[in-house]
């Protein structure tokens, strides 16, 4: 089997109003990738997926879904605590979902780990005819976010979204600066390598 390469593991939290397609997006991402070990047994709420950036570098995302209903908003910090990256999803046909997304951006920038990588995803581009929200590239740029318009249905930009996040992650910094035991840690990577064989076989097609 391959590689001396490193596997970096990141916690990715999914935020956004319910019914904007959060879990569909992730399901599409995971489904489109061959996965030699499927460790998740709890549906789309928690999924793990690896992406190979190059021969030596594999990024593994642990994707944490959150409940999008307003009544659960106050619970979100429990989920994004310790998250390395976040995907905030809205529905391009629902104006209210963008407002909600922006409030997530504000909250994460205020309260989450300062190094968190945030991506904004305008989902449902397959419903172009019903689009209610213009592309938000400018807003995202100003706010320092990655931005994609996606379609979980057609897979448009889905892989691109996650790959861009993986590339944005400060891999070098992590390599030199292993996290404490209490967070995601180097040991996890060691475990992966040992128990699951090289985890870098994930196909980034």
């Amino acid at each position: 089997m391959t590689t001396q390469g490193k596997t970096y593991q990141f916690k990715l939290v999914l935020l956004g109003e319910s019914a904007v397609g959060k879990s569909s997006l992730v399901t599409r991402f995971v489904k489109d990738h061959f996965d030699e070990y499927r460790e998740s047994t709890i549906g789309a709420a928690f999924l793990a997926q690896t992406i190979s950036l190059d021969d030596n570098t594999t990024v593994k995302f642990e994707i944490w879904d959150t409940a999008g209903q307003e009544r659960y908003k106050s619970l979100a910090p429990m989920y994004y605590r310790g998250a390395n990256c976040a995907v905030i999803v809205y529905d391009i046909t629902q104006t209210s979902s963008l407002d909600k997304a922006k409030s997530w951006v504000d909250e994460l920038q205020r309260q989450a780990d300062p190094d968190i990588v945030i991506a904004l995803a305008g989902n449902k581009t397959d419903l172009e005819a019903r689009r209610a929200i213009d592309t938000k590239a400018k807003y995202a740029d100003e706010a320092g976010l990655l931005f994609f318009e996606t379609s979980a249905k057609t897979a448009h930009n889905v892989t691109e979204l996650f790959t861009a996040i993986a590339k944005r992650m400060p891999l070098e910094q992590l390599a030199n600066n292993p996290r404490s035991r209490r967070g995601l840690n180097t040991r996890d990577q060691v475990d992966l390598d040992r128990t699951n064989g090289p985890a870098s076989d994930g196909c980034a097609c």
């Binding site: 879990s23 489904k31 709890i42 709420a45 409940a67 209903q69 009544r71 429990m78 019903r130 979980a152």
Partner: protein, 729 residues
């Protein structure tokens, strides 16, 4: 109380004897739970009633016994279950219909000192609450916090037996082996640690026993450090089982030190358990449903959901009887799996039904979808599971754009003549007609999202109300090695913690349940008995400082009327059904009493109330001389004498039926307020001392890294207390 109404049709003669028995205050009392059975599968049937009819002992015996054979004792304000009799109580014996029989009390004698804290208990909220039966007979009831169940006692006893003999405690009863304060004594005899590192583990354990860390935070850190060291010392070359070895060691350590680690005395864990349990009991009484939690459920799914919630809840209830941190964590994951599997089954069922769907269904679903679409705080119906339709219609995408569309797509697909009653919905449907290029893949990855999972978890926790839930979660957090508390398991724990946090903090009114509903359920009572609400309010006013606890308990008490009401009706119905002649008289009675009969709570004549008071005192007095009874006499009976007296004096002077009834209600309310005071005292006790050393610190420099956790924990504790006492908004 659906279960009750179902039962009202039943016709069994056993109830006659039970009622006869209860009519004699000296012989038996009915326990009336104010919360629903913790397990949703429990029905209020004969068994349930038998669990709650307590027979007073003959002279010379100090324990009581339920009709179903639960032996117990009244201690302070609690009923403590001791063990089970081998047979059910023979009613005939008490009714003196067969003199020759041996009393079931003979075989057993209580040693009060043997009662340990792990016995199943239930708190008593009020005593001598009269319940009027349809035939105008009055029986006395005790309000208890939660239902008793023979099967719970059985399970508890089984756990004790599994634990094996423990020389430290002499078994209180002949056949039952051991008892230990924390219910799970070391089982090292059964499972010694088979690992080369066992000596160092034992060294750690004995050091821990001799000098336990001051705080649980420190304990948790020492624990993790030690496991880290072990891991470092393991030779990787011996195989890939380092994690397995560590897990085994961790489990062993948990078992060995369980009584020191679980609900440790240095924490307020047990207090938090109690608060959460009461909170959940209250939520239960308010009839929380999945709609309140943001999941729409079709009527046809209710049964399957209840089944699923039962199964998942049974898992959660096992948490408390398993000592290992890993094993507890596994239970949480298992609970998730049960729920997710069920959700995915629902998705499949929707697929099936949609294939055969007729136009009506299409329109119904469209309507539902339209509604959902138009709601800003969109609630995601359970029906919205991405549906990988059948292969024949070729739709496969679990990733259809709107989460709530898929089950509709297939429907639209298979029933072409869709009348476009609603343009926007129709266009949406059109846009989602599955592409024919998709491959017919059946893996339904996208079915169970957090939008559905979290609400179902909350619902499961509410319905199962697991014992010591907080303590068990904290135990996992503290003693599951951090390197293994990751990935999916970590997500599951977070989900459960979030669910608990939701239950602890959420304003019930905000969920759309609570106030209105409860009030509508007691409105009739209030209308019937005008002064009730004012006495209620005055009670709240005087207890204002404890409003946090008060609120909670008054929620429970408010709701208890419903249970009360239900059980009262049940009894009435029983008598009614037996055709004791009261049928015509009650139904023909003037409207006020018909009303009252409907609610099972009726006014008392002065003499009845007097009887109630005197019999309460009489009971205490007359039994006092009997040897052994002194020990078993509930402490609160003494207190209750005082609280009943005023009722009697007012009632004898009052003449209007409504004020009499008010007295009766005041009598009920007095007990809860006492209960509340104990809650309050507890919270005061917990609240009185912020950690002194932090108060003494002059500057941040004095703070060590190790203090941070402790400081944060205490900050949270203080914040919780503030919240409890409503100092904060």
């Amino acid at each position: 109380m659906k279960a009750l109404s179902q039962l009202q049709d039943s016709r069994r003669t056993e109830y006659d004897d039970i009622v006869d028995l209860l009519l004699d205050d000296e012989k038996a009392v009915l326990l009336l739970p104010v919360s629903r059975p913790t397990h949703p599968s429990v029905h209020i049937d004969l068994e349930f009633i038998k669990d709650h009819v307590i027979i007073y002992p003959p002279q010379g015996k100090s324990h009581v016994m339920s009709l179903s054979g639960i032996r117990g004792a009244f201690q302070k304000d609690q009923f403590v279950a001791l063990d089970l009799s081998s047979s059910e109580y023979d009613i005939a014996f008490s009714l003196a219909k067969s003199d020759g029989k041996r009393s079931p009390f003979d075989a057993f004698d209580l040693d009060p000192t043997s009662i340990t804290s792990d016995h199943p208990i239930c708190n008593i909220l009020a005593t001598h609450v009269p319940v009027k039966l349809r035939n105008d007979k009055i029986i006395k009831a005790m309000l208890i916090q939660k239902p008793l169940s023979k099967s719970d006692v059985m399970e508890w006893m089984r756990n004790r037996q599994v634990e094996g003999p423990n020389s430290a405690t002499v078994p209180p009863f002949a056949s039952s082996p051991s008892s230990s304060p924390s219910s799970l004594p070391p089982s090292s005899h059964a499972l010694p640690l088979d690992d080369p590192l066992a000596p160092s583990v034992d060294t750690f354990l004995s050091a821990y026993r001799q000098r336990p860390p001051k705080t649980m935070t420190m304990a948790s850190e020492q624990w993790a450090d030690f496991l880290d060291d072990l891991r470092d010392s393991m030779d990787n070359s011996t195989g890939n089982n380092v994690d397995d070895r560590l897990d085994a060691i961790e489990s062993y350590m948990c078992r060995e030190l369980y009584d020191k680690l679980f609900i440790a005395g240095t924490t307020d864990d047990s207090f938090q358990d109690e608060v959460l349990e009461s909170r959940i009991a209250a939520v239960n009484l308010l009839d929380l449903n999945l709609g309140h939690l943001g999941v729409t459920v079709a009527a046809t799914e209710v049964d399957s959901i209840n089944n699923m919630v039962n199964t998942a809840g049974t898992q959660l209830q096992q948490l408390n009887s398993i000592p290992g941190a890993k094993e507890k964590l596994d239970i949480l994951v298992k609970t998730h799996q049960i729920i997710v599997d069920a959700i995915e089954r629902f998705a499949d069922q929707h697929k099936d039904t949609s294939i055969n769907a007729d136009l009506e269904v299409v329109q119904e679903m469209k309507q539902a979808m339209f509604t959902v679409d138009n709601r800003t705080s969109a609630t995601k119906p359970l029906t919205d599971q991405p549906n990988n339709s059948n292969a024949s219609t070729t739709s496969t995408s679990p990733d259809n754009a709107p989460d709530n569309a898929p089950s509709l797509e297939t429907t639209a697909d298979s029933t072409p003549p869709v009348t476009t009653t609603n343009d926007s919905t129709a266009s949406q449907l059109d846009s989602h007609i599955p592409s024919t290029t998709s491959q017919p893949e059946q893996t339904n990855l996208g079915t169970a999202s957090a939008d559905v999972l979290l609400p179902l978890l909350i619902f499961t926790i509410v319905k199962s109300n697991p014992t010591n839930f907080m303590s068990n979660l904290k135990f996992i957090q503290r003693f599951r090695h951090p390197s293994r508390l990751n990935g999916q398991a970590s997500y599951c724990l977070t989900n459960i913690l979030a669910a608990v946090s939701f239950l602890e903090t959420t304003n019930l009114v905000g969920l759309g349940l609570s106030a209105d509903k409860v009030h509508s359920n007691v409105t009739d009572l209030n209308a019937l008995i005008p002064p009730l609400s004012s006495s209620n309010q005055s009670g709240q006013a005087t207890n204002a400082p404890s409003s946090g606890g008060m609120k909670l308990v008054s929620e429970v008490m408010d709701s208890s009327y419903r249970v009360f009401d239900g059980i009262g009706r049940f009894w009435q119905q029983r008598n009614h059904a037996e055709g004791d002649g009261s049928l015509t008289s009650t139904t023909a009675a003037p409207s006020p009493s018909t009303h009252k009969a409907n609610h099972g709570i009726t006014s008392l004549s002065p003499s009845e109330l007097k009887d109630m008071a005197t019999s309460a005192m009489g009971l205490t007095k007359s039994k006092k001389d009997a040897s052994g009874w002194d020990n078993a006499v509930p402490g609160f009976l003494e207190q209750r004498k005082g609280s009943i007296k005023p009722s009697r004096s007012t009632s004898t002077t009052s003449s209007s039926s409504s004020s009499k009834t008010t007295d009766h209600f005041q009598a009920i309310f007095q007990a809860p307020s006492q209960f509340m005071q104990t809650v309050q005292q507890k919270s005061n006790k917990r609240g009185e001392a912020p950690i002194q050393k932090f108060l003494d610190m002059k500057s941040v420099d004095a703070l060590t890294i190790g203090d941070v956790g402790e400081l944060l924990a205490d900050y949270k504790r203080l914040a919780a207390i503030l919240k409890q006492s409503n100092v904060l908004q």
